[in-house]
């Protein structure tokens, strides 16, 4: 592939959503919906092309962007989840507009912001420079703040405030970490690395970085990007924001945004491992993983709100990712990446389902929803399967990734990872029990009899059904065979474990 083509391909995942955003500002609702799907498809296609190129020919640096296996893979995740969200969004928006909860102008703005959000995430995964990566991640906060606060209700405003304050503070810590890393890089022995915060350069320079400074920087970076990734201790914005944002946006935030931020931690880890040895980041990540899992378990046990339940489940899965990353090694890292994709697909389906349930019942409280299987068989089946998939049941790919993480933890060197895995599994069981209990209450049982019980149509809107089925099917297929993605994941894992 020629350089200009490559440059165009590399810029496309940013440019296409940005253009779509601009287009949404002027286009009608129907056109915007089609554009959204087209945009997601384009991102997915470009990601596939880049992935193939990267697998065959190694990483490419072009126009300040760096396309390696990890960024190509993350683009796949963005495209896939965006596809689910884009298919489901029009029906959701239409229902909101019909119900009078959403002004048409706000709906239009939502389209603009969502695509700007996609563009920002694309920049974040493609950035060659960690500073640019930081800017892009912070940009996602700003863009999504209005999506979270879109409802203008007390809850929405409150969620938006907490979201912006906590995330910006957290990400500010990451900025301090970058500053310190830059400091360390500036004083690295000459000739060992590149310049400034260029990731590839930092990786090369890493063995020469001052350990004292790098330690502080890494702590700040993990904590800071961890905030945006929904890892404890700065996780608390997540349930608020995800429960208040419109369902398709929640799907995107939970499905990709967290993962994009987590990929930043993965990139930092490469540098830190080379500079400090693998033990340091492992301790940090295992700690964060266990605390996140414990927090998720504590709050899921007596959860009363199903959207928050899904949000805490995201914290759980981020904890599992941190666990896998903490264990380290090519196998665990590959598992982490597969988990990112699987979780993105399934969680977006779950949020789409939760959004539909909320529209039908007018409540997000678990105890007010009853007998969904009886009243809404399709919706209930898809949501139920999504929750089961989130618990790591086959045939969905989360089974494979969780299994591989556990396998790596128990086979790895040192008992720390093994014990962490055992404790984590205990918490996962508790979380599973809690989620099963809550979901079971909503889905099972006879149809509720009461006013308005029979008013809603039994069938899902076609587009919602397609979105949910597609997401679940993709996750299931991925659990049986990853096809060409397996190669990409292997390459990405190799990128992240320092191997060439």
């Amino acid at each position: 592939m020629t350089t200009p083509t490559l440059a165009a391909l590399a810029i496309a995942p940013i440019a296409v959503p940005a253009l779509t955003a601009a287009g949404c500002a002027v286009a009608g609702r129907r056109t915007a919906a089609a554009a959204g799907i087209g945009c997601a498809a384009a991102v997915l296609a470009v990601a596939a092309g880049l992935g193939a190129h990267v697998v065959a020919g190694g990483p490419v640096e072009v126009a300040g962007l760096r396309v390696d296996a990890l960024s190509a893979f993350m683009l796949v995740v963005i495209g896939a989840v965006a596809m689910v969200a884009a298919i489901a969004a029009p029906a959701h928006v239409a229902a909101e507009v019909d119900a009078g909860r959403l002004a048409p102008s706000t709906a239009r703005r939502q389209g603009v912001l969502v695509h700007a959000f996609l563009a920002a995430m694309a920049i974040a995964v493609l950035a060659a420079d960690l500073g640019v990566l930081w800017v892009a991640v912070e940009a996602t906060t700003i863009v999504t703040a209005f999506l979270v606060g879109q409802g203008r209700t007390r809850g929405a405003v409150e969620a938006a405030w907490k979201y912006v304050v906590i995330c910006s503070t957290g990400i500010a810590l990451a900025l301090l970490g970058l500053v310190l890393l830059n400091h360390a890089a500036a004083h690295a022995p000459p000739g060992t690395g590149g310049h400034g915060l260029d990731w590839a350069g930092l990786v090369t320079a890493a063995p020469g970085l001052d350990p004292g400074v790098t330690r502080i920087a890494v702590v700040l970076l993990v904590l800071g990007f961890g905030a945006k990734a929904g890892l404890a201790p700065l996780h608390a914005w997540l349930p608020d924001a995800h429960s208040q944002a419109p369902a398709p946006v929640s799907a995107l935030m939970s499905g990709v945004l967290l993962a994009v931020s987590f990929s930043a931690i993965l990139r930092v880890k490469v540098i830190a491992d080379a500079a400090l040895g693998p033990g340091f980041v492992r301790a940090l990540l295992l700690g964060a993983a266990l605390v996140s899992l414990a927090v998720a378990a504590s709050l899921l046990l007596a959860q009363r709100d199903y959207k928050r339940m899904l949000a805490y489940s995201s914290i759980e899965h981020m904890g599992l990712l941190a666990l896998g990353a903490g264990i380290g090694g090519a196998a665990a890292t590959a598992a982490v990446l597969l988990h990112v994709l699987g979780h993105g697909l399934v969680k977006s389906v779950a949020f789409v389902g939760a959004g539909r349930i909320a529209q039908l019942t007018g409540t997000s409280r678990i105890d007010r929803v009853r007998g969904l299987v009886a009243t809404q068989p399709g919706l209930a089946a898809a949501t139920g399967l999504a929750v089961l998939a989130l618990l790591g049941l086959p045939p969905f790919s989360l089974f494979a990734s969780e299994f591989a993480i556990v396998r790596a933890g128990l086979a790895g060197d040192g008992p720390a990872a093994g014990w962490a895995v055992v404790v984590a599994l205990g918490l996962v069981v508790v979380i599973g029990a809690a989620m099963l209990r809550h979901t079971g209450r909503m889905l099972l049982g006879p149809a509720p009899d009461g006013p308005g019980a029979a008013a809603a149509p039994r069938r899902l809107p076609r587009s919602t059904a397609v979105a949910m089925a597609a997401g679940l099917l993709a996750a299931a297929v991925l659990g049986v065979t990853a096809g060409p993605l397996a190669e990409l994941i292997t390459h990405a894992a190799r990128t992240l474990t320092g191997a060439p």
Partner: protein, 225 residues
């Protein structure tokens, strides 16, 4: 990057600016009257600008001089102005009435945080020792103090101030260690911070509209308990 060679007067000026940075940060914790806090915050921004200016002068760097102007304009002018406007729109409450932790305890905490910042920063100072890096602990301390303000203050504007203190501290740290982290990133960071503040300002207005108050302690709609 070669270590910054700095003349003694420049070093002294740098120390003064750094001292002012820390002092104003402490004062923000100390005072409860919001207009006063905003004035102190303006001073804080100006001190940051001065610090960058000293660095520019010491390095004889025109580029850094231009950055100084930018920093002064944004940190000493635009952001305080935005905050003042927000405060004007925030209704009658002009005092931080009931901080989550009272002022005395906060000041003691500040002392502890400064000590922590200084001891943590030892490796930062040791790596490429220079007058500039010797001031890095101050920047770290400012970050921690800013976080303390964020954690303990209830007024929307106070929390914004805390956030900006953190940011100023980080900016200071950036300039003191390596004279910045690249222009694109620098501008991006500044833009992001500015946008974040704008967003928060808008949200602060909405909070007042929907909750009828600017006390962040009232934001308890979304909770599990």
């Amino acid at each position: 990057m070669e270590p910054v060679v700095m003349s003694p007067p420049a070093a002294a000026l740098l120390d003064v600016a750094a001292g002012a940075l820390l002092l104003t940060a402490v004062l923000v914790v100390w005072r409860r009257d919001l207009p006063t806090i905003l004035r102190i915050f303006t001073a804080h921004g100006l001190a940051l600008g001065a610090l960058v200016g000293v660095l520019a002068w010491a390095q004889r760097s025109v580029e850094l001089g231009l950055v100084t102007i930018g920093v002064l304009a944004v940190r000493g002018g635009l952001l305080p102005w935005l905050l003042r406007r927000a405060l004007a729109g925030a209704g009658p409450a002009r005092r931080e009435v009931r901080p989550v932790v009272n002022v005395t305890a906060s000041l003691l905490a500040v002392a502890a945080l400064v000590l922590l910042a200084f001891s943590v920063s030892v490796p930062l100072v040791e790596l490429g020792e220079s007058p500039a890096t010797r001031a890095v602990p101050v920047a770290v301390a400012v970050v921690l103090i800013g976080l303390l303000v964020l954690v303990t203050r209830r007024h929307t504007i106070s929390q914004l101030v805390g956030f900006l203190l953190v940011d100023n501290g980080i900016t200071a740290a950036g300039f003191l260690t390596t004279s910045g982290i690249g222009l694109v990133v620098e501008v991006g960071v500044a833009l992001d911070v500015l946008l974040a503040v704008l967003v928060l300002q808008v949200l602060a207005g909405r909070i007042r509209d929907t909750f009828g108050d600017v006390d962040l302690g009232e934001l308890r709609e979304l909770r599990d308990r």
